[in-house]
């Protein structure tokens, strides 16, 4: 049962990721990417990581994709007038995709996992309570640095998108 759910979710993830890249209209790409993110949130739910799934939906589907959709509409890109790359570089892209996928998959298929048996210890390690304790005890300094990073990126985004006055 759960295996079937896994395969369906994986098919949705990979298919919508491909459609994101292959669809001509950037708005369609964004919508397919939202579907891809929702299916990845489904994977997180299957791992029983509820908090991470909710945060993933909020941050990716809620914030990042809305920002991208606004930018697409702001630039008036919702038409299919994109010129393609030259055929040679497209063929090169496909070939390099196949080669990278082949090499990585072959590596991981040949590699043996170190732990063969997966045992459930029964201890709680991914509820919100445990995650909050780990985040604010062990990883407090990176947490603060993340807030500094977000502040700096906000200031940077405002400065970059401000209209420049040309001195004359």
């Amino acid at each position: 049962m759960i295996t079937i759910v896994f395969y369906i979710l994986s098919a949705i993830t990979l298919g919508t990721a491909f459609l994101t890249i292959l669809s001509k209209n950037p708005i369609h790409s964004a919508i397919y990417l939202v579907l891809c993110f929702f299916s990845i949130a489904g994977h997180y739910l299957m791992f029983n990581a509820q908090f991470l799934a909710i945060v993933h939906i909020i941050v990716y589907s809620g914030a990042i994709m809305i920002l991208m959709l606004f930018t697409i509409m702001l630039m008036n890109l919702n038409k299919e007038d994109e010129r393609h790359k030259p055929i040679l570089s497209r063929i090169a892209a496909v070939v390099s995709f196949c080669l990278v996928a082949f090499v990585l998959l072959a590596t991981f298929i040949k590699a043996q996992p170190a732990l063969r048996e997966y045992k459930v210890s029964g201890q709680d390690y991914q509820s919100i309570q445990v995650l909050g304790k780990v985040l604010l005890n062990d990883y407090m300094v990176p947490f603060e640095f993340a807030s500094v990073l977000l502040l700096v990126s906000m200031i940077g985004a405002v400065l970059l998108s401000k209209k420049e006055h040309i001195n004359s």
């Binding site: 990979l14 890249i21 994977h43 991470l52 892209a93 997966y118 390690y125």
Partner: protein
């Protein structure tokens, strides 16, 4: 509650994340539209996040999921700055075709 890795195994998640990462690489190489390239970069980041969560469950350790939070914060910052740069590029070049950005070419 029985765990998913007993049913499916870590291998399938490794293959899924690898394929997703390769699709992201393909998107960066294939398209000229800078926004779609950004989306491909997001796909790659998500593949890595998925694998981190899978191994966090495999080792039953919360550190992997905490790392995914940091990765999400960095992704949000990256998208904010990147889209601001794209808006600036759009103003100056009247389009976001990557191949038009040749001013820095030596």
């Amino acid at each position: 509650m029985e765990n998913i890795l007993q049913e499916i195994g870590i291998d399938n998640y490794i293959y899924l994340a690898t394929l997703l990462f390769c699709i992201g690489i393909f998107g960066v190489l294939y398209r000229r539209n800078a926004i779609v390239m950004f989306m491909s970069i997001e796909i790659m980041l998500n593949a890595v996040n998925l694998l981190l969560v899978a191994f966090s469950t495999y080792h039953q350790d919360a550190a992997g999921q905490v790392f995914v939070f940091f990765s999400m914060a960095v992704a949000a910052a990256e998208v904010a700055v990147g889209l601001a740069i794209l808006v600036a590029v759009f103003r100056n070049h009247n389009g976001i075709d990557i191949d038009n950005l040749k001013n820095l070419k030596g």
